[in-house]
Symmetry: C2
Subunit: 198 residues, 2 copies
């Protein structure tokens, strides 16, 4: 990369170290950035460091936020008695986009994975259990439909059951618009097992 | 996006306004960035603004650099008598990766496009012509194989021919490893026209 000057190479290298940004994208981004108005780059640079500096876990749901409570936990419109458990803030975002869920969330920041050495103490489970001491009617487990997600769902449901709180799991099956012939066998079997009466 | 806090939403929005970064990638990047060590984010933030502030055109070849001369133009190993004309610094990078070109470059920063209202004066052509007053033996035109790239190549070759300097154009044809049945007809015809004796 010595054909670019030191600073541009630096920028390309740093952008390229971000997840999902390959060498070519990093180059395209770098050249776009150096041709942006300086004040826009200043703004981007500032928001990066400002956001990082001020980010913290929401006191209630553990999502990433810059206040003590995230916008959802501090909203009076949300039903605090229904908690949806997700693995990441991005999963929270995915469900928020549906606009239909009126409860609150709990973000685990990961899933139990014996393979990767991630145990129940490495995700925000204690914080979830503490919340259940309040007035909670239902915990909807919306961890991923992967081995780790399923393991985590199982573990949490066993942990909660003795408290008498209703524990549910989001359905697993064929995605809407999905073409049966392109769907893997495990999903097809799940869809079959989870069939409902019409 | 009000389900994320203000700063995180800001960051996602700003990342999402970069070329090739969609909403989901922006989200993934933002959450990755807020979980990075603060000093790494500081470094990224600094390199962004520092690079932007110090970037300029190389006095010779017009590529983007942070010194008066880019590393290629200031290298004693490069043959200044052979100039390859490219549209962007990324095209320069593509040829540098081959490791085989020992001449120097000239970066036009665009191509002539009547459609987009980009004329010969809007790209770095005057700078190229000025360079030809020195000791130049060959100008290799490596603009893209698009309508704009071809128009630009044609325009430049007509401009240079009266000077007696050799003007060449990189070959157009079937890419190496390319599967004939998947290649568009224009390329196939070009490959036929450009056939060479075996």
């Amino acid at each position: 990369m010595d054909y670019f000057s030191g600073r541009i190479s630096d920028l390309i290298e740093q952008l390229g170290s971000l997840p999902g940004i390959g060498r070519k994208t990093a180059q395209r981004l770098a050249f776009h950035i150096v041709s942006m108005p300086e004040e826009k780059v200043k703004k981007l640079s500032d928001v990066l460091i400002e956001t990082r500096r001020n980010v913290r876990y929401c006191r209630e749901c553990c999502t990433l936020t810059d206040a003590e409570l995230c916008p959802i936990c501090s909203s009076p419109k949300r039903d605090k008695r229904v908690i949806m458990v997700v693995e990441t803030p991005r999963d929270l975002a995915a469900y928020e986009k549906t606009g239909k869920f009126t409860g609150v969330y709990h973000v685990l920041h990961g899933a139990i994975s014996p393979m990767l050495g991630i145990g129940p103490d490495d995700i925000r489970l204690k914080e979830l259990m503490r919340r259940l001491e309040g007035d909670v009617q239902e915990v909807i487990i919306a961890t991923n439909s992967s081995l780790e997600g399923e393991t985590t769902a199982m573990y949490i449901s066993r942990l909660i059951k003795p408290t008498g709180i209703r524990v549910t799991r989001i359905a697993s099956g064929v995605p809407v618009g999905g073409d049966l012939e392109n769907i893997d066998e495990v999903t097809l079997l799940r869809a079959l097992e989870g069939r409902t009466q019409l």
